[in-house]
Symmetry: C2
Subunit: 282 residues, 2 copies
């Protein structure tokens, strides 16, 4: 397994693989890898000749005062894990090589899809995401790029960007990986203390309960949303950022619960903000 | 020579060429081709295995009330010319296939480079340019893309975008092609009446005179700029949009005339706006 830090060297290596007729799978990550990331890597390994994993905590998708500095990092451990998964290359660039002085180009998806949910809580976040992902696509030249369903809004926005801008690649979404007790894996879970960790189980529990409500025939968005909110608010350590139900394909508003819908949650536990979601087909 | 109108078919064809190890040269145009465009095509023919010419009058780079509707078009004639130049493919998409309903993704370069000159006269123009060029790059997958020095600001912005966003390609700039009397070739010249056509010669004349002034040792930006403006204002049919002198590499302001500079002009003749420029190395 090779590790690249210079974008042009990574790009040359990927161009060389393409010349040899090999397909490339890219798994973009911010590192501090867990089983959720490894599920993406395994899917890429299964489907592509070459697997490239990028490890880059992207400063332009964090707002001032957000957890950019505190975001956990451990490239050595990540590298050990990826070696075991038989990844072919890691792309771990420096901030300066990705955003040299005078950097001034941005890619953005406008509209409801980027304005709602995390787009409302974190202004500019998705512009940072679409910009860095565009750069990673140009450097690593994937045929397939793998994204986790846990960041459902991100996956949706990137699919939209790929379609609108005609990127020559396809996005593969990989299901959420959960701990045995239901907590969705996240690099940020490491920040939770024991009590917060226990409290955070409300996310998966309330998603399942909402799923049951809907399966039982409930079509009223307000009723399901209120149920979710009350359940989360009943947990003292939890503070809701958002808890919403939208059309899954474009985050459009729903008149009633039908078709493909997404229930999306972002909840603070102390200073740690966790997200979770559930796709439901009614 | 093949003509493609569907972006995905064009992309598949280009992917196939790349698989065969062929290099691709792209010449993006808005059609109504003249010798200026053909100089780009010939340079591409000389340097690449495959030459793709895109012909697309891009609506999102025109402002409301600008000359999008009136922009001259003649695909049949363009196709005859390109056949003679031994281009391999024309990409002539419909507006709907490039911007389907719900289209919402944009690429932009921010800062002085896009705010000055044509960026000031035509708000949003360069966002439209960088967006469509990104799409064309993704569809046609060029190793080299050819742009005319006549649109100097555009070439500069696209070079910046390619560098910032790590596009896996290089930009080749091709010098301005002029009529024997010095008028820079432009598809818009067709709109000039005989008197305006004669008046428009002031552009090249004043660029040459400014060049002489500078060669004679003039270092004062204000003096050279005033000279240029007065000369243009002396022509009754001419109305200045801008006439400026900046650093050539980033359109930064100059304290005095030294290094690589650009003299950039945009002047109205009746309802037709023409641009011209000169690079000077002092």
């Amino acid at each position: 397994m090779q590790i690249f830090s210079a974008p042009n060297e990574m790009q040359q290596w990927c161009l060389e693989q393409k010349k040899q007729g090999k397909s490339i799978g890219l798994v973009p990550t911010m590192g501090y890898l867990h089983e959720g990331h490894l599920a993406l890597v395994r899917e890429a390994r299964r489907r592509c000749d070459i697997v490239v994993v990028s490890v880059f905590v992207n400063p332009i998708q964090f707002n001032v005062g957000q957890d950019f500095e505190d975001y956990p990092r451990n490239l050595e451990h990540d590298s050990d894990l990826l070696e075991k998964e038989q990844a072919d290359a890691i792309f771990a660039p420096t901030i300066k090589s990705m955003y040299p002085p005078g950097y001034n180009s941005f890619v953005e998806v406008l509209g409801e899809m980027t304005e709602k949910l995390c787009g409302a809580s974190r202004p500019g976040h998705f512009r940072g995401v679409t910009t860095v992902v565009s750069k990673l696509f140009h450097v690593c030249l994937p045929d397939l790029a793998f994204f986790g369903q846990k960041d459902a809004q991100q996956a949706l926005i990137i699919e939209k960007m790929v379609q609108d801008l005609n990127f020559p690649l396809s996005i593969v979404r990989v299901p959420i990986v959960r701990e045995s007790d239901g907590l969705a894996l996240s690099s940020r879970n490491v920040h939770l203390d024991a009590e917060q960790r226990q409290a955070a189980l409300v996310l998966n529990r309330v998603l399942k309960e909402a799923d049951s409500l809907i399966a039982g025939g409930e079509k009223d968005v307000t009723i399901v949303r209120s149920y979710i909110r009350r359940s989360i608010e009943a947990v003292p350590q939890a503070r809701i950022d958002y808890a919403e139900i939208y059309r899954a394909d474009d985050l459009g508003d729903l008149e009633k619960i039908e078709g493909r819908i997404i229930i999306a949650l972002a909840v603070w536990f102390g200073t740690t903000r966790l997200i979770d979601n559930l796709l439901v087909e009614v």
